[in-house]
Symmetry: C2
Subunit: 194 residues, 2 copies
């Protein structure tokens, strides 16, 4: 385990860069995420980050990958294994909350076509996708899991973006939660009616 004993060697600059990048992202949006700014914030020379990241893209990909991991954890924390529409709705609420809590991060995660050069990122996306499918399958055992999970994901993802872009009423967290729950419950009725 590295120790930041001296002032010359940072100790864990890799993690510090990631941390700085995330902070900058939420403060200034993705335009503020420059390697130089990251270095400045980490208290290090402008070129030090190159020890740990090949270029700016590599850093951005690392940030996005961390975001995917956190989103997965966040959803799992909302409910470990949802089996009812109500529990699924709780996971949906967590998804939208994640987007509203870390708007710039969420945009980085979903704002560009999946970068094929970052296998870390591709894998993370696939994991989220599979996770959603698993939940939908458990909640609606009789349904076509692929088709329905896409519909559920799209609905929740769309709610997240519309809130993020100020197109819906996001004045209180309660209003957001209620809306998300209502939308997911509506989808449940579909399945029940079939």
């Amino acid at each position: 385990m590295p120790q930041a004993s001296s002032s010359y060697h940072h100790g864990d600059l890799r993690a510090a860069c990631l941390r700085a990048a995330r902070d900058l992202l939420e403060e200034d949006g993705s335009a503020g995420l420059s390697l130089r700014a990251v270095a400045r914030r980490a208290g290090v020379s402008a070129t030090a980050p190159y020890r740990h990241y090949a270029d700016r893209d590599a850093l951005v990909s690392a940030v996005a990958a961390e975001g995917y991991r956190e989103l997965a954890e966040h959803l799992a924390a909302a409910h470990p294994s949802p089996k009812t529409p109500d529990e699924l709705a709780s996971v949906a609420v967590a998804y939208v909350r994640f987007a509203l809590d870390r708007p710039a991060m969420f945009r980085v995660m979903f704002a560009e076509p999946c970068d094929p050069n970052s296998e870390e990122r591709v894998a993370a996306t696939a994991a989220i996708s599979g996770y959603v499918r698993g939940i939908v399958h458990a909640t609606f055992p009789g349904s076509d899991p692929d088709a329905l999970s896409t519909t559920v994901w799209a609905l929740v993802h769309g709610l997240a973006f519309l809130h993020l872009d100020g197109k819906l009423d996001s004045s209180t967290p309660e209003a957001v939660d209620a809306q998300v729950r209502a939308a997911v419950q509506a989808l449940f009725s579909v399945s029940a009616a079939r």
Copy 2:
């Protein structure tokens, strides 16, 4: 009506800038949309656009506003006044197609919180929102139009973004269309079951 008779006076630089901005947007993404690049493409000095746009933001807002207008037209063209779920689904398909045809434009329209400094932009957003509500109201007369129209919009918007970000299979237009139709039809079953 202005005429571009001489080479000194452009004739309609305002429109030419808008055109150039849209082309650059689709070619290089929003990062490529600089005032200098617009001027270059319009064949004019770097500072000429300032005659017509106060600054870069003003140009971007004008582009977004044009996008909203075109989206509205595009939806109306898909079906002038949908009254059945099938007709509504056609409009949904048109929405997603619009996003996939002009990805960068779509992102500009929805990538930032509605700029409060551009009343043109705010009005355009409100128009789209009202338009969706009207359609949903006509299609599902018995329902709560506000709640349901939000759900419909979110579902379609989410599908558009997931396709845009390469998270779903967008290999053929037919696949996309079928998926969008299926998702909207699913929502209809909800209403019918109540």
